[in-house]
Symmetry: C2
Subunit: 327 residues, 2 copies
């Protein structure tokens, strides 16, 4: 029978893979980490709870990937280079097959991103996963939420809405053919953090964040913190071929108010368009210009986001982001 310590030893302790390793890793009271010379450490934490962030019985290989991916996505949104992470997990019981698959999914992504597991905690409890991730970034080049400027273009990486499309099909809100469902599920279960694009944008983009709770809510955070507004062309929002075949109202719900996208939403000067497109090409990432940052008039009682169609006509949409306390 594995106990807490042999569990850590068997599934979560490995020889370091990178030159960039922590000074002390798993197994002491603390890990020791030093950012690269001249850099700050970017730090983010996310907690995933069974039944809320993933279905009961979710495939552990994909869950290991996604647990780290959603955290790396926060580093990407800051323009930071992944260095290390800690993992705290509560498990209802020790299931060795589950642990083997979970750690395989976790470390496959960690190795690909050069991100070392440096510490953690295991306990018994309802299945809950909490990762804290660390990356190097030059403080002056970090992509913050409060840096959008009037006149900036608004950009989106990849496509939006596929994870929400899968969720809706699994909840019988709509139906997909088997190929569409498989593609949409892949987007939901295996999100790819936009680390390379984030690094390429550092020093070029102004504001950025990753879209985890839906574009409407997440873009709203940039606008509020930057004290600006935006006009967004709903028809320009990038979407997969499968989503583009659905009814228009499903397309809008998924692209605007879907969650779990883990794409970057960022703003950049209109003079930087070629640089942004080059960053997309270099990193093999689709980047799409979807709107413009405008001035915000606090007295006009207008919403922060004006949604338009391709012709520039305003649309009345009552959509918002995902709130974890909203059932």
């Amino acid at each position: 029978m594995l106990n807490e310590f042999s569990l850590i030893s068997r599934y979560f302790t490995r020889p370091s893979q990178s030159d960039n390793r922590a000074l002390v890793g798993v197994g002491d009271d603390c890990a020791l980490l030093v950012p690269q010379a001249g850099k700050a450490l970017a730090i983010s934490t996310d907690m995933l709870v069974e039944g809320r962030h993933f279905f009961k019985g979710a495939e552990p290989l994909a869950l290991g990937h996604k647990t780290l991916a959603v955290n790396l996505s926060d580093l990407a949104a800051m323009g930071a280079r992944p260095r290390a992470f800690t993992l705290a997990l509560a498990l209802p019981a020790i299931d060795e097959a589950w642990l083997a698959a979970f750690s395989e999914g976790l470390f496959a992504l960690a190795d690909r991103c050069g991100c070392e597991l440096i510490g953690g905690d295991t306990t018994r409890g309802p299945l809950t996963l909490c990762v804290t991730v660390f990356g190097d970034v030059e403080a002056g080049q970090a992509l913050r939420r409060d840096a959008a400027r009037v006149g900036d273009d608004v950009w989106i990486s990849g496509t939006l809405g596929d994870a929400r499309l899968a969720l809706g099909a699994l909840r019988s809100e709509w139906t997909l053919n088997p190929t569409e469902l498989a593609e949409a599920r892949r987007a939901m279960d295996w999100p790819e953090p936009q680390v390379a694009l984030g690094l390429a944008l550092a020093g070029c983009a102004h504001a950025a964040l990753d879209i985890s709770d839906g574009l409407a809510g997440d873009l709203g955070h940039i606008l509020e913190r930057s004290d600006v507004a935006a006009r967004i062309d709903v028809d320009a929002l990038p979407r997969s071929a499968a989503l583009a075949r659905q009814r228009p109202e499903i397309q809008r719900q998924c692209t605007i108010a879907g969650g779990d996208d883990y794409q970057l939403c960022f703003t950049a000067s209109s003079r930087a368009r070629e640089t942004v497109l080059a960053a997309g090409r270099t990193t093999g990432t689709r980047v799409t210009r979807v709107g413009t940052i405008t001035a915000f008039d606090a007295h006009a009682s207008e919403p922060r986001i004006t949604w338009t169609d391709a012709g520039g006509e305003s649309l009345a949409l009552a959509l918002r982001g995902f709130d974890h306390f909203d059932d």
Copy 2:
């Protein structure tokens, strides 16, 4: 009705209290933190689950304190100076009175230790609290687990076993009078991380850790990682007056195999005895010498720890530390 974002804003965002503040704090994708010049960042994470680490219905003021205290204790065990922490929490529902008391207990200790909340995550789920804590330490002076040397003294801070004494009374394993129970519960609910002592020991002590799962198991980690053994005088283990009044077997169970102590166990050269005692005096912390590090003979099939009485006679004790997967 509070949502996820107003909850963070109301209870967990405050003006920074220290000169030492993070570059970017709560509200962006990542916080940015730089260790002091020449220092490494010591990092530790702990997850607390309702029903396992604390009783259902636990007083939120004390729980806020303890959630941070158990993490600061890991920094203390490394000889690191607290800087910052992140908090991820899953809550079954939004209870404003609970949140107000929890955050009050959390920030009272954070302020006292100069530790700033720099980020977090909130979600709905079974009550679970996960803190990751950051401190500054000179890498060469960090108190590691693998640094005990043959001939070192073994020391314990404070007293051991009071939290276990309270737990046993609450579980009706034994009875305490009301004053004893109140004192023991205070030790269980309001553990004080030995931050000042840890700082005073950096550069003087060899190995250290904090005792969270009982002395037997935790000292075992030092011994295994340092490849040494130890003789420990059970009668010398420091205990409160309340515990010293209990039956001898209760005293031994609580001091040796209790959990939730959050005292430091450390080793230091016998030539450093005066320095260690001075560190205790300076920081107002009781420090007690309880044994000696000895050589480990892997072929002799002897246990790592030899328990003795005050006369040096070996005792046969079958006690071990707390394992979170052991019901």
